[in-house]
């Protein structure tokens, strides 16, 4: 147990509840003075939610935050900054149209006789940036500089304003290797000055390069905090994606029988810059699981199969006949369905009713000249509300009022209503509570038994193990391994990701 006095920032038992899901469940997080602390977890693990609770962007529902041993309650990001907690995001949160100096001093420009003293402001800006090995023309607009430099300017502003804790949320995502080096030099310098730095990323090599300690979150819960020096990469990955329950679920299930004909065959299918060419065969009644860390090319694989991005190499066949999947419309015509990852932005239309959301894709396929009659719409909606057990007062309720799990089921219903034969699900259980998880998993099982072909992407290894008949492992935008039959275990998957990863880092 660490003593409180050692910690610069202590978050104790932080709770955060969103409608339908518990985003943070009694999470502890301790940051020491002069350390770089990596905060890791897959999408939806609660990293950003935790950061937003620390910076006051979200109001937490429970728990305490101590800064320098004193309890604080940041009301908003501005307030957090005043207390000493500064944040820099992946997308630089500065104003591109203002000059570098104005960005650094916005709201606190030096004044003389009531007017902004531009000369003094520019001098102070130059002096400030000297600490960051930058020699810029501070009178130029910020957007005349590269993202990396904008990033450093954002850090300089955050440190100058807050000066105790610096939170870096995916700062390296759009930087090249050289720029990352520059950023790391600056981070080390700030660390030497005694700042506590929280570093969020999904590049594990960078974590091992810069972080002193690592905290892992999964499904809104704390998995653990470890010293980087003593944490094996393999152990870290299994902390991030979990495996404890997998073996049990798998053991409890009969081995499904997939000996049917191959229905979908993709050869050398790929797109430059998105996903390297891969081969994929999917039979009727088969669930192909896609495993890999964030950024390994999982979603890219789904998008290219569905035609959301056009493949620039390879061929696709459906039932032995070659097809062109150049747009989602074409893919839908071949009875493909795709539930995207982010249901808030790419899935539900919040203000439309449950019924309207369910018939949306079917109507789109039929074209607007052939509307589905209201009776037919009601029948479809009622059928799926019953079949998928969507908890809603009635079918006319705006979908945004439903919980996350029920929204997810409504989106599934939307695609099921088009009677797809090949259904692609990207993170179907993201951000929904554990009970709803199990229902979605049962649903996938049910669809497979009816003879549908499915491709499911998930960060939850246990889940993949539970329902997949075959698992493809991705890393660095390549398909690197395929697991079948009794090789589908959490250990094998973690092994495949980790070994690939070590090779990648070497």
């Amino acid at each position: 147990m660490q003593t409180i006095a050692n910690n610069l920032l202590s978050a104790n038992r932080i709770d955060k509840v969103f409608p339908g899901a518990k985003a943070l469940d009694k999470v502890d997080f301790h940051l020491r003075r002069g350390e770089v602390h990596a905060l890791l977890g897959e999408n939806g693990a609660g990293k950003s939610t935790l950061v937003k609770c620390l910076t006051g962007a979200y109001r937490r529902d429970g728990g305490t935050i101590l800064l320098d041993g004193v309890e604080v309650d940041p009301r908003d990001t501005f307030n957090a900054q005043k207390l000493g907690i500064g944040t820099v995001y992946q997308e630089v949160n500065l104003l591109p149209n203002l000059t570098v100096a104005e960005n650094l001093f916005l709201g606190r420009q030096p004044r003389r006789l009531g007017f902004v003293d531009v000369g003094a402001m520019n001098r102070q800006a130059r002096a400030l940036l000297e600490n960051y090995e930058l020699d810029l023309d501070v009178t130029r607009a910020l957007d005349s500089y590269s993202v990396a430099i904008q990033q450093v300017v954002a850090i300089a502003r955050a440190v100058d304003l807050s000066g105790k804790v610096l939170i870096l949320d995916e700062p390296t995502a759009s930087l090249d290797a050289h720029e990352v080096e520059m950023l790391f030099r600056i981070i080390r310098r700030l660390k030497a000055r005694g700042l506590g730095i929280v570093f969020i990323t999904h590049f594990l090599e960078q974590v091992y390069e810069i972080a002193d300690r690592i905290t892992v979150l999964r499904n809104g819960q704390l998995v653990g905090t470890r010293d980087t020096a003593t944490l094996e990469r393999r152990d870290l990955i299994s902390m991030m994606i979990g495996r404890e329950l997998a073996a049990e679920i798998r053991a409890a299930r009969e081995e499904p029988d997939v000996t049917g004909p191959v229905r979908y065959r993709f050869k050398d299918y790929g797109r430059k810059g998105h996903i390297s060419p891969f081969d994929l065969e999917v039979k009727a009644g088969e669930v192909v699981g896609i495993a890999g860390l964030l950024g390994s090319g999982r979603t890219e694989t789904a998008e290219i199969l569905f035609g959301a991005h056009r493949a620039d190499s390879g061929t696709a066949e459906v039932d032995g006949k070659p097809v062109q999947l150049s747009s989602p419309r074409r893919a839908i015509a071949h009875r493909f369905g795709f539930c995207p990852e982010d249901r808030k932005t790419a899935g539900i239309v919040g203000d439309l009713s449950v019924r309207e959301n369910i018939v949306l894709a079917l109507q789109a396929r039929r074209g607007w000249t052939r509307p589905i009659s209201r009776t037919e719409q009601n029948r479809l909606a009622d059928h799926y509300i019953r079949a998928l057990d969507i908890r809603t007062a009635d079918r006319e309720k705006p979908i945004r009022l439903l919980s996350g799990g029920n929204q997810q089921k409504a989106i599934l219903a939307r695609w099921l209503a088009t009677e797809p034969e090949f259904l692609i699900l990207d993170e179907p259980t993201r951000g929904i509570d554990v009970g709803a998880h199990a229902e979605i998993v049962r649903l996938i099982e049910g669809l497979r038994e009816k003879g549908m072909s499915l491709l499911v992407i998930s960060s939850e290894i246990e889940e993949l193990v539970a329902y997949s008949t075959r698992i493809l492992v991705l890393r660095d935008r390549q398909h690197v391994a395929a697991l079948e039959g009794n090789r589908i275990t959490a250990d094998q998957i973690i092994e495949a990701i980790a070994s690939a990863n070590e090779r990648g880092a070497a």
Binding site: N93, L95, L106
Partner: protein, 322 residues
Amino acid sequence: MKPKYLPLTATIVIFVLSYALCAAQYPNILSTRVIGNLLTDNAFLGIAAVGMTFVILSGGIDLSIGSVIAFTGVFLAVVLDNTAIHPLAAFAMVLLITTLFGAVMGAIIHYLEMPAFIVTLAGMFLARGMAFVLSIDSIAIKHPFYGTMKGLYYKLPGGGRITLIGGLMLLVFAIGILIAHRTRFGTDVYALGGGTTTAKLMGVPVGRTTILIYALSGLLAGLSGIVFSLYTSAGYSLAAVGVELDAITAVVIGGTLLTGGSGFVAGTFIGILIQGLIQTYITFDGSLSSWWTKILIGLLLFVFILMQKGIVYVSRSERRHA
């Protein structure tokens, strides 16, 4: 040169070139009389355009100013015609009304999260309607003080006159430039134009700034209305129709991005001068229909919009190679 100065430079180059062309044909156009008249004739538009510049810099729009000018004129005419109130007191009253009017629109835009276009469109109908309620007739203003003020001018060498209203416009521009570039409020206006969400995250008082911007626009529209009533010596509820569009044109020709965040108050001044110059040329020519003004302005506006796109493209590729 920094890309942000490109549109302003282009505007100045176009102005100087067209002035030179006009002067080559009609050397008289260089006389101080013409210049004095240019300022006097465009004083009310220029003052309103300064307010519009701030609004557009912040990423908004104010469609109400033409109506506010008309309302101001009718209000002054009715008050001076029917009461013994001194014009200066009437000016203060009407400026208070128009400033509050702008502030209320700003508050609605900010607190109800409504698009500026709709809110100020409503304001446009409201102000015009209020003008009609006051009077549907064109009322002449015969107050002796008006005569005194119209008689005030600074004589330039060569016989030209900087009238009170022309001088007032120059003063408003000077103050506008100072506010835009030398105050925290000015930087906050640019910040809003760069992105409201980011500005808020960086601690810009978004609500206060928005209200102040529209209040400023209302104040200047009121001042413009006073100048217009001095210029025409009358108040008429159908006056100044479409002035807001002329003001927007001057702002855009002056090099301010319609999407906000980039531009200069000084550019708007050149924009006003270009519009005035075209008008003057047509007066000199005598045979051209005054609609040629609109045609030329339309073409110019189109060229400027294309140029802004081009500049955005150039500065992007410049950054890629940086």
